[in-house]
Subunit: 430 residues, 2 copies
Amino acid sequence: MADQSLPEARTPAAPQPREGAAPPAAREGISRRRLLGTAGATGLVLGAAGGAAGYAAAPAGATPLSSVGEDRVMFHGKHQPGITEGLPARGHLVAFDLAPGAGRKEAAALLRRWSDTARRLMAGEPSADGDTGVAQDAGPSSLTLTFGFGHSFFARTGLEERRPVALDPLPDFSSDHLDKARSNGDLWVQVGAHDALVAFHALRAVQKDAGAAARVRWQMNGFNRSPGATARPMTARNLMGQIDGTRNPKPSEPDFDRRIFVPADGEPAWMANGSYVVVRRIRMLLDDWEKLPVKEQEAVIGRRKSDGAPLSGGTETSAMDLEKTDSAGDLVVPFNAHARITRPDQNGGAAMLRRPLSYHDGIDAAGVPDAGLLFVCWQADPLRGFVPVQRKLDRGDALTPFIRHESSGLFAVPGGAAEGEYVGQRLLEG
Amino acid sequence: MADQSLPEARTPAAPQPREGAAPPAAREGISRRRLLGTAGATGLVLGAAGGAAGYAAAPAGATPLSSVGEDRVMFHGKHQPGITEGLPARGHLVAFDLAPGAGRKEAAALLRRWSDTARRLMAGEPSADGDTGVAQDAGPSSLTLTFGFGHSFFARTGLEERRPVALDPLPDFSSDHLDKARSNGDLWVQVGAHDALVAFHALRAVQKDAGAAARVRWQMNGFNRSPGATARPMTARNLMGQIDGTRNPKPSEPDFDRRIFVPADGEPAWMANGSYVVVRRIRMLLDDWEKLPVKEQEAVIGRRKSDGAPLSGGTETSAMDLEKTDSAGDLVVPFNAHARITRPDQNGGAAMLRRPLSYHDGIDAAGVPDAGLLFVCWQADPLRGFVPVQRKLDRGDALTPFIRHESSGLFAVPGGAAEGEYVGQRLLEG
């Protein structure tokens, strides 16, 4: 079936190495470029200059792929893909629970299938078994697939002794309104791409691979700006209109790896070069938010809406002056401003790499959009990343009245698979 | 609020004229380019060569907008935008019902607000009243807004005498499974753009403009390929993996205008240069479809999955040989193949311009995706476009077991607004 449904001579696009897989000289430039989200915009010009389309079977007279389609992320590498790459224009999050009776053996076979599918699809090739054809004609479009394990996975597979302490359930937060059916799960998969059909194709392939071994627990869709749509690709805007991600740690910073990834000699050993991801579905109460005058919105956030600069002055990247007062003696950045509370230097150096998606699932019966942020954040240790920041936000964030955490997940995302290896193999076969 | 939230010196992007607004020499080339869906891919190279960003307030060192962001569609013109332009990467469909007590006067004021918002947003400017800022930093990204009137609008506004016969309810089709709550409506708005946040921003602005005059009846989200993601921008693939749109009428064809648009001297006068749109939410039963071997999928459609060529041979654009038989004497294109039944020359020359979106609203409790096609088709007369084709499909389309029409709408979309005019003014004030 796959053979019939796909072009005969499909030459994969030239790979773009990721950190860990790249020659040392290229590493820094590439990972930084991707992290900053400029891959689309920068690559665009390169793509137009480079000219060649991504595969040989393109019809005569076809328009060459731009780098939007042509860009390819490597599956194999030190870390899994989908963590330090720029924000994808389209993404899917999906959690699975192992089927009754499925254990370690079935889980290992599933991770092997998933890894094979990820490697193929990220290279712009069809999946091994009955490809649906939905991604045909498109390039890999920076597709990434990322796989993680939830707390409940370990008891179901007899691997409780290998469960990291970092997977202990997150504490309760008083402002949470969590739907358990849309929280956690045995397994988690993140799909991202710059093309919605490429992303959907990968999601369906992942679901098909699950077969009888696992069932979908929950699934969410999200989006970010399209490459080339903005002159400000450094940081995204969310559906509140606010610039988001200014203070994200950058791979060029000396402590980036230490904060985001488990060390190569870290514990447990199967999590070497891995990371922990916290996923929160954060609904935005847009009808309330949009009624606030911009001045009040800015006081809630602590930054200017137009350009993201701190209310204490400067530009988006200027340091925030936390002590600055106005002529009345009031703090210019209010004590409960969201950006003040979340500053790493206010949280013992806690840092997490946020790589979110906006979501919009239509409008409910009251005419209110079911929309907000699929908050996805990465850290070497959730107890030093997400938890202390969220504790402080929970106690006094001015943003709290305008958002609602509706679901939550915490997953252990192992390091990248080496050639010939599948993701999680060191856990499942070690 | 709007002034505070937006850059001070925002120079709109250079407009790209639409047919009717363009000088005659430029008209054919532009409308054809956009209809074929190549605007993104072609414009990409132009954008990179042209270089200049879309607005003056871009931060120093910012990456210039590519044509993905920079492309602008004109609001004013002979026809409304969003009909002959290429497929948008992201789209929203929303229907409103007038609020109890709201009549012709309130509807006229609403259409005036909507037209002003559409003109501003399509130019990359903020809306007049409390812009949310979500589209800030982005270019217009080929944003289009399109407005239509449903059958029920006319009784509620005392304009029944002006209701076109073409708005008479569509006949019942035996294979329909229509949800009335997600069908029809007094007013219909289509939003399309190549950036998801630009599209969401416009949707929110339209909803805010509705104010107390109208309430959302239903709202749906969809997508198409991103510009530059495919080397085959001529026709799209749908979520079944099938190439879709090969036989769409093209503006270069001599009878294009006659088939798609009400003539300038047509009836009723307020519909001059307008069009009728049929909107169907068509769920795809993907679990069933994907179990079919590709050969059987191709027999259902009548075209090859890989390249869209008719099963009778040739390439995607080759004429279909309806009489050709194989060595066993069987029709090569089966008698109930979808592409055979929908051919205009099998339907008395009926033609409609399809400009669909794929949709995917997550996965239901059974793990089945709520996904398919937001079928949007345009014609001068639904009784000569959609209806005869759907009647034939209803009687014997091989595709019927794999799809389900879940909602339906029919709307009268008046011609484009002239400078200083709002959409529908000739209906509401004529």
